[in-house]
Subunit: 225 residues, 2 copies
DNA sequence: TTATTTCTGTTGCTCCGGCAACAAAAAGAG
DNA sequence: CTCTTTTTGTTGCCGGAGCAACAGAAATAA
């Protein structure tokens, strides 16, 4: 079960059904269910396996040493967690909480590195995919650092909007976040974000309503840097 | 050659000499030399291999879309680069430049995932180490994001100093960076950093001279949050 | 529907920190 | 050694953005 989902998931991308089956046989996954609000992974816990979300929505949240709590990522079925963690003995800096009832597949750490004899093809692809997944998370963080280093709220917001437009392949796009969440991602004050977005709208650079954005003058936004 | 160095390097940690030899035989590394100032890796280039620095010092630099250039990491022999990159088809966001004449070992991408038959023990350990190296880079970035999200220059600096003290295991420590580089890491103005450090020194919280720091009242620094 | 809660926009006050400019100190070159 | 370059500390100015408070809009619950 869940084969169709997994074949689409980044960890198993590029596999055919037969390969996936063999691989899963070799990896011997465990399955677990979590009720709404339960923690798939608690901050401060080490992780000895990789989790793949099969059903439900989950959210990674982080509490800074200063005590502020904010959201890191949201995960839909197919999403992977614990991947960065499991290689090191680091404890998780985030708590992952089920926004709705969740089912997950856990791939135990020890089996990862002992190349299973029967499933070498899928195993190779799996490792490649794993590396790719981790890389993507790394570059996502890296892009965020770039944003945070960008001085001037105007430019920061502009860069961010342009990035999102590029990522979604359209100057009209939506984001599943509240203003407060956007602000915390951008490292600014919610009111400041609203203020600046309003200004940009007033100048005819963008249109925005809640999570919906339309970039009217992308070139002008570029210039602002 | 370089066996002693490699046995200490994070990628080959935990191996015995014999295992390392077998592994290297299987991975068929290439060796290259770079003169001072040459680029080991140009920004915008994809990477199809992992590089291990054998001799010399190198520095990773990044140019933000806004045009500002700043340092990302410095590497000593044993350091690894291209590791995050090689899994994805992403192009490098950084340029790595030889600060002095360098020699590197390049481990070609294709050989990574075809588990060599003769060297399975070392191969397993190698993959684990690779994951660990990547994880560490990820968490380093993550910690930096935390810093950048910390509002109030005072707290940001305090957190940073405490992190460094912890990392180096002493309240007296040194950093091989100029004030300008520290400032760009912290995402603030050099003058602002100097100003704040001066204040903290005046209040008896720290002593500092150039790259040397001594935290006199770590608990007070903690409180400042 | 109505009631309640969350989300969003707005605005004034205040001040932190960016910017610029300069002098002293240290490092490096010749 | 002297001369030059880089690094550092310092200080004044002022603008951007944090903070707080409130009202209207939208979503959710009952």
């Amino acid at each position: 079960m869940y084969e169709d989902l997994l074949l689409q998931a980044p960890l198993f991308a590029g596999m055919d059904r037969q390969t996936l089956r063999e691989l899963l046989l070799a990896l011997r996954p465990q399955y677990r269910a979590f009720g709404q609000g339960e923690a798939l992974l608690m901050a401060g816990t080490p992780m000895r396996e990789i989790g793949v979300l099969l059903e439900g929505l989950a959210e990674a949240r982080k509490i800074t040493p200063a005590g502020r709590e904010f959201m890191v990522t949201r995960m839909a079925p197919g999403g992977v967690y614990g991947d960065v963690l499991f290689g090191s003995d680091t404890k998780s800096p985030v708590t992952i909480q089920a926004l709705s009832a969740c089912k997950v597949m856990l791939l135990g750490y020890p089996r990862f590195f002992s190349a299973p004899v029967g499933a070498t093809g899928g195993y190779t692809l799996f490792l490649q995919n794993l590396l790719r997944v981790i890389s993507e998370k790394y570059f996502a963080l890296d892009a965020r650092v770039d944003l945070l280093l960008t001085h001037g709220l105007r430019r920061r917001i502009a860069d961010w909007l342009l990035m999102e437009a590029k990522r979604q392949g359209s100057y009209t796009f939506s984001l599943p976040f509240t203003r407060a969440e956007m602000a915390s991602y951008l490292g600014c004050e919610r009111s400041a974000l609203s203020r600046e977005l309003s200004r940009m709208a007033a100048e005819g650079l963008i249109e925005t309503k809640r999570g919906h954005f339309r970039l009217l003058a992308p070139d002008a936004l570029q210039e602002n840097r």
